[in-house]
Symmetry: C2
């Protein structure tokens, strides 16, 4: 059996064999191998660096006394840095798995999008989690920034989670059972330390001492930066970070403190990084300058081939695994770019088909003509009058022009251009050969690829979601020769990395798709999708179940773009886990594992799942691996579930008093009781019925209690979900349980909204308290920083008020006023206008996103205190303006608005009227005023005719000042009516 120490040695051997230097772990506590200066500092600057090392990674927050089978306060990372990236880091990585005895061909090894960022260190990168049969075993990142500095060259960072890998390889289900070395288990070697360090981090660390340490370390780091010593400064930044993590694990860090501490650490880390880079430059870069990875491209010397007949184009951009969303987006982008760029040439062609898969974007262009069309081009010479003298002989100008164009002067003809007649000629411009055209178009398509998040990877300067590694470009049997960023186009493509022949040659464009499919690569997402659904359905059926393609659409879409060769694999889990709430089970399956749940015809969960592997593998092995992963996750969840169920709700609630919410705003318990009080105030305002009031009162008493549960502590995304479950199990009324769930809604932009009034009121109260409290202490969001999620809170507030019919009587201002009286701090005069303004700006953005014109949104902005009305008005206005009547009405009202001076009295006296149009307008005004409800609607169009008549027949600006004032008074009254609904001045 491969022991853990064998595995560490195997990786050490493998990577030293690939040019890595070995260093020792950092001799101060670090949370990850990334923090070791061998990574954090060495990735900066131009020097090459290849290093590998084990790093015991301390995460005080993960302390579980050694009880949790998968979570440890100290786990072992094995860290590799390749700088610059070597061109084939994924292949090198797969080689290391093989060094661990892992047969990548038998297992399902996948690269699943995972981008990494450490705001505390000003560091980020794009890359993947590597999955081994569903288990995350490695983090693989193209490191883009560290210490706030952009990295050039980019480093590849590979981080193995050793305990997880070994548990999988040894088939053990608790870290303590890992065979660490011959005859000694992990538990025997490290069990006591795991328990005791957990005790320290969770229970016994002295808070005052660790705060003092934090400050001392930070001050020392600052001094050392001033002394221009980045190495010891970095060590002190790490010590800072550990002290912070200890405080955090002890629950001693409020959100404000967290933000402050992060700012402090980030600033220090940035200064250290800058200083390191400067110092290396001053030292003259002792390790030299990184040279670009050897280019795979030969200089393109081949001439573009000339064809005699139309041919198909096969164009494949080969990439490392794209994120699923980018797979789709890339196909669309390439299609559009190709079409547009070809259209700008005179090269005719047939249909463009673009398909995409994680590792490729494949464009097929049918019937590309051999050459561009030729063109007859009129070339303008001198004006005809200047081209020939009075004798009709060509002038010097004409002779010079003809010579310059290389034609005989006798070839000139009179040609008419706009503006006159000139001497000139019609030139026949032949088309370029197709390959030549494509050799210009195709690299431009590659170069323009952009994803939502882009990165560089090598000296080519290309920037895209993931590295581009090869380009196939075949026009019929010929390659279209070009070079893009060091990659030469060619006729090779890559199939499964574990295939006997991972790189294949394609003879001609026509055989491209067949070649891929012959090697089990399916480039067409719709085909993959069908295969997934069919395969999953078939396997589910063998177990008497089925898949819900609509319900699981999101995960099916994602998986479709995670594999190039979908293989459905059946798996099961112990039936006892079905005792857990379905929400937990499916969250874990879909969100964490991308599995499809198997259900009965009536939708009940069955103890099965379907996972989709990428390509042929050892089905039993992969099934067993995935089952083990799910079992571990469910075991975790079941542990928390049982632990929580054993506690009365009040016990969980009691824990809230120990969770700091914000230094000035008290504990989470304080916040929960404020939410309850705000909800009570809103209920009073709305005049709730007794039954609703009873539900609200009880739910408010229990507000947020599940934040004290083990499950939510572990899986914070289950807040609310668990409240509902635990409340139900504790015998609370269903409506109370539901309200507790609903108060957390919406959790994100596309989430559902509370349906019950008590739930909606609690949800409002939650957000009102949050906004009021944080604004009161001056902690509103700034720039991109929004640690308390106030933007999301404002959006939630709007969403509920916009949509919940039972809350229309409540204005935001009223709600904020209620919440403001309950805050433990006195607001600094900022309230509630600032919050309303902040919320209004969220509303604007929301409406913009829905396609409303900015002007229309501004026009209803005054109504935002009741967002439902503002939105309704906006929609009505949009509807109105789509009708001719509406447009006429608007024009009429704008005509009124424009004629009114700044200040106009609303008074008018019908006795002063001297035309029927004036009387008719007054009559219409009266009638509409009576009829008008709060909405802008077509009834107002009854005003259109009278207004227009008025302007046609009445001179507003009469010489008699009294008459003039009277007429303006009438118009002002009309506008006053219109203004009740819209700020017409904002409209064009």
């Amino acid at each position: 059996m491969l022991t853990m120490q064998d595995a560490l040695l195997a990786l050490t051997r493998y990577w030293t064999g690939h040019g890595c230097m070995i260093v020792q772990p950092m001799n101060t506590e670090v949370g990850a191998g990334t923090l070791n200066p061998a990574t954090a500092l060495r990735v900066l600057g131009p020097e090459p660096w290849r290093v590998a090392y084990a790093e015991p990674s301390v995460r005080p927050d993960d302390s579980r006394y050694g009880d949790n089978p998968n979570r440890l306060q100290t786990h072992t990372q094995f860290q590799v840095i390749l700088k610059p990236e070597p061109g084939d880091p994924q292949e090198l990585y797969l080689g290391s798995l093989s060094a661990l005895g892992i047969d990548a061909g038998a297992h399902d090894v996948r690269f699943v999008e995972d981008n990494w960022a450490s705001p505390a260190l000003g560091a980020w990168g794009l890359g993947w989690e590597v999955w081994l049969d569903g288990l995350e075993i490695t983090q693989f990142t193209y490191f883009q920034q560290s210490g706030g500095m952009t990295l050039d060259p980019v480093s590849v960072e590979i981080t193995y989670g050793m305990e997880r890998i070994i548990m999988a390889l040894q088939g053990v289900s608790h870290f303590k059972d890992i065979a660490y070395a011959p005859g000694i288990s992990y538990g025997e070697a490290f069990g006591q330390a795991e328990y005791e360090m957990s005790r320290y981090y969770l229970d016994d660390a002295d808070i005052a001492a660790n705060r003092a340490l934090f400050d001392t370390y930070a001050a020392e780091a600052g001094r050392l930066i001033d002394a221009r010593l980045p190495v010891p400064a970095h060590a002190y930044v790490l010590k800072c970070s550990q002290a912070f993590n200890v405080l955090d694990a002890r629950g001693a860090i409020s959100t404000t403190e967290r933000a402050q501490a992060f700012t402090r650490m980030r600033n220090l880390a940035h200064s250290v990084a800058e200083l390191w880079a400067q110092r290396r430059a001053e030292l003259g870069y002792p390790l030299g300058m990184a040279t670009a990875a050897p280019s795979t491209a030969e200089a393109v010397t081949a001439l573009a081939p000339s064809l005699d007949a139309p041919a198909d184009l096969a164009f494949e951009i080969g990439v490392e695994e794209l994120p699923p969303a980018e797979v789709t987006r890339a196909a669309e982008a390439v299609r559009a770019s190709l079409a547009e760029k070809l259209a700008a040439t005179r090269l005719r062609h047939g249909d463009i088909t673009v398909m995409s898969a994680p590792r490729r974007i494949a464009a097929l262009v049918a019937g590309v003509q051999p050459r561009e069309d030729a063109e007859e081009q009129a070339i303008r010479g001198p004006r005809l009058s200047a081209a020939y003298d009075e004798d009709g002989n060509p002038t010097k100008a004409a002779l010079g022009f003809a010579r310059g164009q290389g034609i005989d002067v006798t070839g000139l003809r009179p040609l008419t251009f706009s503006g006159g007649t000139y001497a000139g000629f019609v030139k026949h411009v032949p088309g370029r050969p197709a390959a030549q055209v494509l050799a210009a178009v195709l690299p431009a398509v590659v170069a323009e690829l952009r994803a939502e998040r882009n990165m560089r990877w090598n000296a080519s300067g290309l920037s895209y979601s993931r590295p581009i590694r090869w380009v196939l470009a075949l026009l019929g049997p010929h390659t279209v020769p070009f070079t893009i960023a060091g990659i030469a186009s060619g006729r090779v493509t890559r199939v499964h990395r574990t295939a006997p022949e991972p790189v294949i040659t394609v003879p001609a464009a026509a055989g491209y798709l067949q070649a891929l499919r012959a090697h089990s690569i399916e480039p067409d997402a719709s085909v993959r999708r069908s295969r997934i659904l069919a395969g999953a359905a078939q396997l589910a059926a063998t177990a008497g179940g089925q898949i819900d393609p609509d319900g699981e659409q999101a995960v099916v879409d994602e998986v479709t773009n995670l594999v190039e060769d979908p293989i459905a694999i059946f798996g099961s889990f112990d039936i006892s886990y079905l005792d857990l709430p379905a929400g937990i089970l499916t969250t874990v399956m879909k969100k964490h594992q991308r599995y499809l749940p198997v259900r009965t015809a009536s939708g009940e969960l069955l103890p099965y799942f379907i996972t989709i592997a990428n390509g042929e593998c050892d089905l039993d092995l992969v099934q067993a691996g995935n089952e083990a992963v799910l079992r571990a996750r469910y075991e975790d969840a079941a542990f928390f579930w049982r632990a929580d169920l054993a506690k009365p709700l009040e016990e969980m609630q009691d824990r809230l008093a120990q969770l700091t919410f914000e230094t000035q705003l008290g504990s989470v318990a304080d916040r929960a009781s404020r939410i309850a009080a705000v909800a009570g105030g809103i209920a009073d305002r709305l005049g709730l019925a007794d039954d609703e009031r009873t539900v609200l009162r009880r739910a408010a008493e229990l507000a947020k209690f599940d934040l004290g549960s083990a499950m939510v502590t572990e899986l914070p995304s289950l807040a609310g979900v668990m409240a509902r479950e635990y409340a139900r199990h504790a015998g609370e009324p269903a409506a109370v349980a539901e309200a507790l769930f609903e108060m957390e809604l919406p959790r994100h932009a596309r989430d559902t909204l509370p349906r019950s009034r008590p739930g909606a009121i609690l949800a409002l109260a939650d957000r009102l308290d949050l906004l009021t409290g944080l604004f009161a202490i001056g902690a509103g969001p700034t720039g991109s920083s929004d640690p308390f999620g106030l933007r999301r809170a404002a959006l939630g507030l709007l969403a509920i008020l916009r949509t919940h019919p039972g809350l229309s009587q409540l204005t935001i201002t009223e709600g904020l006023a209620i919440a403001a009286t309950l805050q433990p701090v006195t607001a600094g005069g900022l309230l509630p206008e600032d919050v309303l303004d902040f919320t209004g700006r969220r509303f604007d953005q929301l409406m913009l996103d829905q396609g409303h014109p900015a002007a229309s949104i501004r026009a209803v902005r005054s109504l935002v205190d009741t967002p439902a009305r503002a939105e309704q008005t906006l929609q009505q206005m949009a509807g109105l303006l789509r009708t001719p009547e509406g447009q006429e009405l608007a024009a009429a009202i704008q005509r009124v608005r424009r004629i009114l001076p700044g200040v106009t009295s609303l008074s008018f006296d019908p006795a002063l009227f001297d035309s029927p149009a004036e009387h008719a307008l007054q009559a219409a005004l009266d009638k509409v005023s009576e009829a008008a409800g709060p909405d802008t609607d077509l009834r107002h169009s009854a005003l259109t005719g009278p207004i227009n008549d008025f302007f046609d027949h009445v001179l507003v600006m009469a010489d008699d000042p009294g008459v003039k004032a009277n007429r303006l008074g009438l118009l002002a009254s009309v506008y006053r009516l219109a203004e009740r609904y819209l700020d017409w001045g904002q409209l064009p």
Copy 2:
């Protein structure tokens, strides 16, 4: 080339192959691999443990900005723990060298006594430095105590100094030039860190911050001990230690603080150790209980052979390399023990010869008789009167006795014992066979072996300087069968470990020595010594030089017992190093390297040395290795030498102000100026001549300046030596330079003493200031703790005052009084009596060690204020008491003393005398009183006759009270005279 990382991997592979588990280095700074809990805690308790790991070891004090070729603030240890010791740890270790590609047969690998102790951790052990061609590459220790706890079982700790080993193997002379990994040097990888961390430790660490850290860490450790969490507590003890080391490197630690910090850390470390041991017991020893290493002994079933003729005995106790001093001591001890134990038997034998070498004590006993002598033993029965009835027939008592003894009653004879005549018989007791006798004697000899410092190594319970590994016991051709502590006696011995046949069988006692010598082992120290001298002289002669056998006696003696097969090897060093003071060169050669210097006939150093290897080796290789070691050491010294010479003396002196001596007593500069003042006071007291005064004044101005030099900072043992050198080079008068050297004398018990008066006065002043100051602040030594070396100071004081003729007018009390007035603190009434008492007790011990009887020492104790006089008196008394006259005089005086009651008037009136004896005594008293100088001498014996006559003829206790009082008054006056020299009451 073996890179450093190759070497680490090779050791990892080797030791995992020998059952060691690998752990990661500690994730907080540690000074040595020992401090990692994988050693510090795991060696405690009964659980078995085998571990190996690399440990970056941080020594802030060794910071040199990366400039020093051999010294780093962080060096890499590779640490191995074998618990319990495996029985053959040295052989295992040699295997690991071979794994590093080191051919131990070609190199000179030696185990040189080196005992390890860390008072701060309450840890110690006995063992060796391992030398590779003169270079210390490994520390090898039998770990005896950790955290103040005695270890059972004992662990073997092997610590490789990786940088040194690699520098030697790669033949580079600066650590930065080490090939660390392919294509990257140590300097390239770690040079910047070495510089910056040095900057931090030496210049930039904030002292207040690190003091605060020390206190916080210590408090946190204490809390965690109370919470019974030894693992995190241990981590905080380590952090404490690092903070202390940082402060120390910054020069911020005074001696008092050091002592306090050590006490605090030691107490914490002890508590952690105890707690760990308790916790492991509570956990039921998860790793099980160590089983003793498999015994090499079969149960001894063989019967002792019987011989017919006398035979020789060869008896060899095989050990791991003994310290040189123990090699000699062991031979003497075995000789004495064997002689004594054999004398207690009736086994006759010839000469006993005992020889010894580092790995063996070899005893040869000639002509051992086949059996013990028989004995005629008188056995006593009943009293004769009770044995026979009146008829002469045996009684029941006689019959019963005879039956009990197994003889016929007719065999009884009348036998006279003291006190009467009995019936009995003479029993012939035959002697036991020789082998049987020896089988009892020899193991007892082994079991009784004791060294100055002893240790246990395995479950046998034996305790000796180093492990005993085999016992050879041959009587003629037969083995003497016995078992001692798991070792069976036999006929095998071990020769060179690298020999083709390292274990050989000896056929018979007679061939024992030949067998050893045939395998190049020389057990006879005198032979080895001769070979060393002859070999060295011969090699020296080839270079035109010679060795000074008398001058180098100490190192020759040591080397004689460091090797079993001395091979002299010639070496040279660059002639330019001869520019360095000879004292430095020879100190390094002899003290650090055990080399013999080569000199001209006139005693000038030549650039050569002789080293003595142990056994055949590759001479060129070993020479080159030793030369490289010496070169590195000289390069170091030359660097400091040049740096110091470039500075004026005042600049070095200025540094003293930055060195804290003691918190209350100020800086070293303060102390130096006090010494100058004390010296001035003494000079006044003694009335120095002008020329001496001039010398003294200038030397006092410069006192201790060399403590501010780089050389003394690096090599503190050169204090004084360097002062003399630097003063000379700076053009100071020779007498001043000499006085600066002499003021440091004596540096140890056998050191030379100051010869000049100025030097002696400064040396006194130094010690008087030290004693007075420390006693004044209550920091006198307690128990074994004497951080300021006050015992040594007092001994130095005594040595100078005892021996220097020019100081006899000074009493200690006077000196202390001068020093006391100069202290910056007010003494708490303790002075100077306490210091005098403390010094007096040192005097007692010194005299005891010189063989004076305790009573005699007590008798002169009152004279200790002038130690020269006290010692002189003591010697005179000893001389006196060796003569009959002296003994008679003493008896007479004691007779006088004993008759005198408690209080006696000294007055007497010759008019009341009524016998010539009284007059004669008075006359003798007057005569001796006049003649007597300050010494007790034989002139006093003029009193002997008159005293004895007086007692013979005069009744002291006369009836007449007046007469009686008069006689007592005369005797009291006699005694008063005698008492001026001795406290006779202390004598027997």
